[in-house]
């Protein structure tokens, strides 16, 4: 249908629209009009993606000079592919409605591993191997060498692309990863480089967060993207952690040993080159004197991992004299490594700030701040000069040089923690140097500065005001949308007590309490008897889960549970977990019923959806606070308090609640789905916890569903499940294919949570829609 959103003609590829989608588009349009940033929360399964795409594409068509590009960032490859498929649907609708051929180019970009078509390279299993192998075939100096020695191996796809592909732009259309591969095979061009080259003139790009947030990758891929772009971060509830991870460096003794080896290799290579080709090093020296600006114009294939956000002024300066010659630089690195080694030989935990570290290094080994800053850039230049093909080998020394650059560039926002051993195993010496970033805004700042509109959106962003604070930006719209439902398909319950009235909580003081564990066990047992098919239970940590499951086993609770359902457990091992998941789904499918015990913040809680019968109930045992004794976390909390005036407790609760919301949100993946959400901790009933849940869950959390006993919970759940089963099946005979595999009949939802165009235009519906958006 065609919508009129405040004067903008939007093509929407479905016949029906949810009211919240309309409202979402309205807010989005206002954000784009203001050329500002936005934070929008809308529950999963309400068609966020298609609303975003149809509005922004319409905007692009209407104002081609205002918005030239849409950059859509998602988390995983399947999610990226889903977005592109939605986009394809939209484009087909456009060409059907307007009758003209579209000239929009949209494509997905992923790593070489997902895009390579070279028969040998693509058969490698790990991303790093593929990258390294590809690089050894396509690096510019390798190809230069081939001119003199044609027997060297080459990648014909890359050669073909280099020769032909750049003159002819990719024809307009929507390209998913597989489409790119097909196209590449047909033309004989390398799909990866084709995609990377094409993003410069593409209208819509769909790729992972890291291409924009990780400075090492962003510098190569996204540096030249137009300023007039709209950037969308979907599923962005963890964006601060992604930012922090991309800036943090961990150095262990192994890293140092390998760097040592790297340095030696470098030294030998330098010696060799000096004998054969001294002019090359001289040439490099000359370049370095002139400054990095020109040196930086590197060939696209030379992706030595490097250069975390170097401020522009540094790039304009020349490399300081002390590290300009190759030998001096190697000596410099050696000294730096020795210093780090010495620092790791400690017996107690040390925590210091970056300026303290710099002062110490100056006093001990006379290393100045300025050359440290150029470390990463200098190494990059050296590796290029020495024509070393396999970059994978040099990851250790690159890491060290990145650390050197970061530590000397930022005096604020980072902390250095050196731990002689892990907390769990105090007897085994395993020193680690954490250089941890505490300020997510450092990594994302260039994004906010460069692009005119950045939209942060997810199903769980509550409380909304905290994201602008920790990411340090000023949004023009902050809004939360609820789900309008034809029936109440979610049932959040807070269970606070056992049948014996003993409070249930995972609080540190009581978590080992026998009564608490028994009550948790009883809850699981009772629920396993009344909930059909799948139940997913989340614990706060692996250790806590291990303890509880062990003591359930001793008490015989597990045996009773197994009479009702099979039990599967998530482990830190990815392969084991995916096996457990597969079997879990099989058990749900064939009527045996199953329980999956997993961990908040684990793989299951983040990426796996439990639609329909795969998750009829989610039980959250305890409040998933992060491990508060960790020094990194403590440092970060302190930083947040000092810099952003966010109290420790506020942040911890916020973090715990967003993970709890993520976990319970796994069960509801759309309006036709239904599920119980059981919060098994009395602390959830408190206003400060409850208030931090997303609005669409809070809405259904009435006073009557707080602080229940197990019995009451069972009774309410039974009632809920019967009612849900009832309403689906009374209308199950309809076979109308409508929105998002809807199997509720349209008539039931129509006018209430599903709108036709006529209904949308009516006056009172517009008023209702205005209420959906909740301005924070």
């Amino acid at each position: 249908m065609k919508l009129n959103i405040e004067g903008l003609l939007v093509y929407f590829p479905y016949d029906y629209i949810y009211p919240e989608q309309y409202s979402y588009m309205l807010e989005l349009k206002r954000t784009l009009d203001a050329k500002g940033h936005g934070v929008l929360e809308m529950p999963s399964g309400t068609g966020k993606t298609i609303s975003l795409l149809s509005l922004i594409v319409a905007y692009q068509r209407e104002y081609p000079l205002e918005v030239t590009k849409l950059i859509y960032c998602s988390r995983t490859v399947p999610e990226i592919e889903k977005v592109v498929e939605e986009l394809r649907k939209l484009m087909e609708f456009y060409s059907k409605e307007t009758g003209e051929k579209n000239n929009i180019l949209a494509l997905a970009l992923s790593s070489r591993k997902n895009l390579c078509v070279h028969p040998e390279v693509s058969s490698l299993r790990f991303g790093k191997e593929v990258d390294g192998k590809c690089h050894s075939l396509t690096a510019s100096y390798i190809r230069a060498q081939r001119h003199s020695n044609p027997s060297l191996p080459s990648c014909r796809f890359y050669e073909e692309f280099d020769a032909m592909g750049k003159q002819v732009p990719l024809p307009a259309g929507v390209y998913n990863l597989d489409d790119l591969k097909d196209f590449g095979r047909r033309k004989g061009w390398c799909p990866y480089y084709l995609a990377r080259y094409s993003i410069l003139h593409a209208n819509i790009i769909v790729y992972s967060y890291h291409y924009l947030l990780d400075p090492k990758i962003a510098d190569l891929v996204s540096k030249e993207l137009s300023k007039k772009s709209v950037v969308v971060f979907d599923e962005a509830h963890n964006i601060d952690n992604v930012c922090i991870d991309s800036m943090s460096v961990n150095i262990t003794r192994r890293t140092l040993d390998r760097s040592q080896a790297n340095v030696e290799t470098l030294q030998n290579t330098i010696l060799k080159i000096k004998e054969t080709d001294a002019a090359k090093l001289k040439e490099e020296y000359r370049r370095l004197v002139e400054g990095l600006k020109e040196a930086n114009v590197a060939r696209e294939t030379d992706i030595y991992m490097s250069n975390p956000v170097l401020p522009d002024e540094i790039l304009q300066e020349a490399v300081p004299g002390s590290i300009r010659t190759a030998e001096h630089f190697v000596g410099f690195m050696k000294r730096f490594l020795e210093y780090l080694k010495a620092r790791l030989r400690i017996h107690h935990v040390v925590q210091e700030s970056a300026p303290q570290f710099l002062k110490d290094i100056f006093e001990k080994v006379c290393i100045d701040r300025k050359p440290l800053r150029f470390c990463a850039e200098r190494l990059r230049s050296l590796l290029r000069t020495l024509e070393i093909a396999d970059i994978a080998d040099f990851s250790a020394i690159t890491l060290i040089s990145n650390f050197a650059t970061l530590v000397s560039t930022y005096s604020k926002g980072f902390t250095i923690i050196i731990e002689p051993f892990e907390d769990r195993t105090p007897t085994i010496a395993n020193p680690v140097l954490h250089f941890s970033c505490m300020d997510p805004s450092i990594a994302i700042k260039p994004v906010f500065e460069r692009f005119q509109s950045v939209i942060i959106t997810s199903g769980t962003l509550s409380p909304l005001d905290i994201y602008p604070r920790i990411l340090d930006f000023r949004p023009v719209t902050v809004a939360s949308f609820t789900m309008t439902l034809a029936r109440t398909c979610l049932c959040p319950l807070v269970v606070g007590r056992g049948n014996d009235q003993v409070a249930m909580t995972s609080k540190f003081e009581t978590r080992e309490d026998f009564a608490v564990i028994r009550n948790y066990g009883n809850l699981l047992l009772e629920m396993s008897a009344i909930v059909p098919d799948g139940i997913v239970a989340f614990f706060t940590s692996y250790t806590y889960m291990e303890n509880i499951v062990a003591s359930w086993y001793e008490q015989g609770i597990l045996e009773n549970v197994q009479r009702n359902k099979l039990i599967f457990i998530e482990t830190p091992d990815a392969a084991e977990t995916s096996m457990a998941l597969e079997k879990y789904q099989e058990a749900c499918e064939n009527g045996r019923g199953a329980i999956l015990l997993s961990v908040a913040r684990g793989k299951v809680s983040e990426g796996i959806d439990f639609v329909h019968h795969f998750g009829r109930a989610v039980i959250m045992f305890g409040v998933p606070y992060v491990y508060t004794q960790s020094r990194i976390l403590k440092a970060r909390l302190e930083y947040l308090r000092d810099q952003f005036q966010i109290r420790e407790n506020d942040f911890l609760t916020f973090d715990a609640m967003r993970h709890a919301a993520q976990c319970v949100g796994r069960a509801i993946r759309g309006k036709t789905d239904y599920g119980l959400m059981i919060f098994a901790d009395k602390r959830y009933a408190r206003a400060d916890k409850r208030g931090k849940l997303p609005r669409w869950i809070q809405e259904h959390l009435t006073d009557g569903s707080l602080n229940l006993t197990i019995d009451e919970t069972v009774q309410l759940s039974k009632h809920f499940l019967r009612q849900m089963a009832h309403s689906i099946h009374d209308i199950s005979n309809c076979n109308v294919q409508c929105f998002c595999q809807l199997n509720l009949s349209q008539e039931d939802q129509l006018g209430l949570s599903l709108l036709t165009l006529e209904q949308l235009q009516s006056e009172d519906m517009l008023q209702k829609i205005a209420q959906i958006a909740h301005q924070a």
């Binding site: 059909p532 019995d711 009451e712 069972v714 009632h719 019967r722 009612q723 009832h726 689906i728 099946h729």
Partner: protein, 429 residues
Amino acid sequence: MNAIPICCFTRATPNAIIFHILQFLIELHLEVDSIKMDEEPERAKRWEGGYERTWEILKEDESGSLKATVEEILFQAKRKRVFESHGQVRLGMMRHLYVVIDTSRTMEDQDLKPNRLTSTLKLVEYFVEEYFDQNPISQVGIITTKNKRAEKLTDLAGNPKKHIDALKKAKDSTCGGEPSLYNSLSLAMQTLKHMPGHSSREVLIIFSSLTTCDPANIYELVKTLKALKIRVSVIGLSAEVRVCTVLTRETGGSYHVILDESHFRELLMFHVKPPPATSSSECSLIRMGFPQHTIASISDQDAKPSFSQAHLDSTSGGPGLSMGGYFCPQCQAKYTELPVECKVCGLTLVSAPHLARSFHHLFPLEAFQESPLLLHHTERFCEACQGELKDKSVFTCPSCNSVFCVECDLFIHDTLHCCPSCIHSRSAP
């Protein structure tokens, strides 16, 4: 012996408490009755069993009274019509139905009173009676499943008495273990697949458990069932289970989950009406015998009492010897009851009224139009019972425009199957 657990309901409104007391008193009354009948001591402690929110369906009107809602509920209960008419479609009139009753551990749950098993068996008894009343030329069999096994309680047969006896006996059996959908379905399938193609093959599962213990992949069995055109319907007693959803969707049956006992009854009654026949089922002429009931006159000197063929294999005793009966027109075997399939020659023996009773399913009476009483100024009395129209809605027959009250409307549609006023006007001239 009984105490009112008001203290538990402190969050309830005063009205809710009053309602609860009322309900309590009614239950107390019932309990006294039932204790007299079957002495069940544990039933006295009902409040320990569960925390029920019976007041949640009630809503106060503007003046704070519950009267309106209670009336509304009663009216709605009367009005509910599960028998949605299909219009003119082919129906499977000769039905072969297996009722599978889950008798697993979960049937001991007390959310139906006194427990799921007793309540279910009672309703199934009623269902069997109703079923033969509406489908005289059909057959029914009963299967129970527990402890991962399935066993036949009764074979497919057209005699309600046998089934009801078996059901009554089953009340004393214990529940235990897990049910097995696979085993019960394959047991039913073994018999049903030999039934002639023109008859409808159906399985109705009353499923209380949320799990099933299957020896093999049930989806393979579902494919076989689909190929054999066996229709499987499920009534769930606890919640929606995925495997049942798929099972019923694939085989073309219906899947419902009960809300409470009265809803359970409604859902069961829904299965009394024959289902529409699939377009692919065979059409064939069926040989049927219409024996007349003959009694040898006392004056006949040669007449001797004889055994009925149906009683030969039954061990239940009963009147074995009788003077009269129905004699098969083909082989002269004697039966005391119809309908039956002749043991000797396999001919289906029915009486004409049986066929006629099955006939009304094909031409259902049209639903009467419901309209509010206020719009009716002419007639203030029901055409059928001549009582004054007091409910807020009245029902008008679309063909003769006569007005009926709710009770008469229900009676006409459920029992009479024809409009008395129409018949009257037709026969008058």
